[in-house]
């Protein structure tokens, strides 16, 4: 994998920000888009745009072919048994909400349990809080270990025969923890519960095989994996999806409509009410082509090396607090003593370096870490060791700049 060639394919990276070559270290928030994706979306709107699954004209056929082709590509990407189990959504949040609304709210009763944990993103907490409130089910948290990981022992202690749903993130967007979702799913299944995985930080960075993981639902977003915003995926096992009601009613998802009753299309379309996200799905297909061309294993390998290098340089930096386990995905969440992460991010931005500052949509985790906010540098296939060096230089300058204050 030649990272310099890869960088050439991202037009946005070829610019100066505040007079310095851009160093983009916020891919966990959203990734940048390669020219192949931009051109695929562009070509669709220039040449093939039409609504799908209706009408008989040529453009309609082309659009439908590309949209359903994208679904097949996603199926292959995550090794789902059938394209009927691949539902296009607006993103991970919508995908998780779909399950919380259509599955949890209709099937849970008082006494049932939903099991999550404190490292989850708000989008994998709040839908379950609300479903628990609506049904009288109990929300339970698997306690985190000191280093921000889940031990299988705690997993086994928390999941019981009352547990109906276990929801876990594949990779923590703050700690970088990679969770043993396959093993957790096994425990969930032993107790008759279903397992949902928030794959927003997983699918972009590593090979995902939903059959091997044997999870019941896997949700992810296109925009964190080189695709446009507004497209995401919910994979779900057919036997579950078949027994779930749609959450949005309207065009596209119906079979027959009578005055007082209607019937739904088969999977996956019964969950895709309204004109679907056609351009987004086509962009996602192009992103998958791009990522597979580079190779998911090569991407993971590259990111591992980068994470190691970043950790090595950052742990050696004086006054640095780093959060999360040793073994981590390609992101480092940190605080520099005496400098608020906002101020730090502003100084880095003046140097052309983009990092995230704030609570990262994980307020319970911030509380667990006993901080109000943190800074985060996150990496993707287009980042280099030079980017890490620039970050370290920027941090030195930040320290120098605020050094007089304290």
């Amino acid at each position: 994998m030649n990272v310099h060639e890869i960088r050439q394919q991202f037009p946005i990276l070829q610019q100066n920000v505040n007079g310095q070559p851009l160093v983009y270290l916020d891919s966990s928030a959203t990734s940048q888009k390669p020219i192949q994706v931009i051109e695929a979306v562009n070509a669709y709107y220039r040449e093939d745009n039409a609504n799908v699954h209706r009408g008989v004209h040529t453009l309609g056929s082309r659009a439908t072919e590309q949209y359903e082709g994208a679904r097949e590509k996603v199926r292959r990407f995550i090794n789902a048994p059938s394209a009927a189990e691949v539902i296009f959504t607006r993103g991970t949040t919508t995908a998780i909400n779909l399950v919380a609304t259509s599955y949890a709210r209709t099937k849970l009763e008082p006494g049932d349990e939903i099991v999550i944990n404190e490292m989850e993103h708000h989008s994998n907490i709040i839908p379950w809080q609300q479903a628990a409130k609506a049904t009288g089910a109990t929300l339970k948290y698997i306690p985190l270990q000191e280093d921000g990981t889940l031990s299988m022992e705690s997993v086994r202690e928390t999941i019981t025969d009352h547990t109906k749903i276990v929801a876990v993130t594949h990779v923590s967007n703050v700690l970088g923890t990679v969770n043993p979702v396959q093993e957790i799913a096994k425990v969930a299944h032993e107790h008759g519960a279903i397992m949902l995985v928030d794959g927003a930080q997983g699918a972009p960075h590593m090979r995902v095989d939903v059959q091997k993981l044997d999870v019941d639902f896997y949700a992810f977003s296109g925009h964190k994996m080189c695709a446009p915003t507004g497209i995401g995926v919910l994979y779900g096992k057919r036997e579950l999806l078949d027994n779930m009601e749609p959450v949005e009613y309207g065009g596209e998802m119906i079979d027959f409509v009578d005055l007082y009753d209607s019937t739904w299309k088969e999977l996956p379309w019964k969950f895709e009410g309204g004109t679907p996200i056609i351009g987004g799905a086509i962009g996602l297909a192009a992103a998958i082509d791009f990522l597979e061309d580079v190779g998911m294993d090569a991407i993971l390998d590259h990111e591992k090396k980068l994470a190691d290098y970043a950790m090595e340089r950052m742990t050696a930096f004086d006054g640095m607090d780093i959060y999360g386990p040793e073994e981590r995905a390609a992101l480092v969440t940190f605080n520099l003593k005496g400098v608020h992460p906002h101020d730090l991010a502003t100084v880095l931005d003046a140097e052309g370096i983009a990092v995230r500052a704030g609570h990262h949509c994980a307020q319970p985790l911030m509380k667990w870490l006993n901080v109000t906010a943190t800074a985060r540098a996150s990496f993707y296939l287009y980042n280099t060791e030079d980017d890490v060096d620039r970050l370290i230089d920027g941090l030195s300058k930040t320290k120098e700049y605020f050094g007089d204050v304290f």
């Binding site: 906002h342 502003t346 704030g358 109000t372 204050v405």
Partner: protein, 148 residues
């Protein structure tokens, strides 16, 4: 941008208020208490106001935040103390205008230090930090008048 431009944001007087916030703490006796946070970043502030006959007798704050939010809250408490609620609300309006980059009459602000925050208008991502304390003050007096 260079570090010289950063200096337009982080003026010395701001860093001084950040390091030594004025009116940090709790008001003694009865006070209006407002908790306000900036949900996008996690900054939070608790503002306490002692208002008697429409006059702000005392103002104190506690909280956690960046240099901009803390220094701005510190300056605000200094500026509104001894002022009428109306005057304080007017100052808040002026402060919002300043954040939008508008020229304002600094004499009406009653505290010269506040002028140092003018540079924040050039950093759109940081405007919410600077207005947090002022928004808390507005909420406090509105809730108070609604309760009466």
């Amino acid at each position: 941008m260079s570090f010289n431009n950063l200096d337009t944001l982080y003026r010395q007087v701001i860093l001084d208020h950040y390091k030594n916030p004025r009116n940090r703490g709790q008001v003694e006796g009865d006070a209006l208490t407002v908790d306000m946070n900036n949900p996008t970043c996690g900054d939070r502030i608790q503002l306490q106001l002692q208002v008697e006959d429409g006059l702000i007798q005392d103002a104190k704050f506690n909280g956690e935040g960046c240099s901009i939010s803390i220094s701005s809250a510190s300056m605000m408490t200094q500026a509104i103390k001894g002022k009428t609620v109306e005057q304080a609300l007017r100052m808040s309006e002026l402060f919002s205008d300043m954040m939008l980059g508008k020229e304002i009459d600094m004499d009406a602000m009653s505290l010269e230090d506040i002028e140092a925050l003018q540079g924040v208008s050039k950093f759109p991502a940081r405007i919410k930090c600077a207005t947090l304390g002022w928004k808390a003050m507005e909420k406090g007096v509105h809730d108070d008048s609604a309760a009466k």
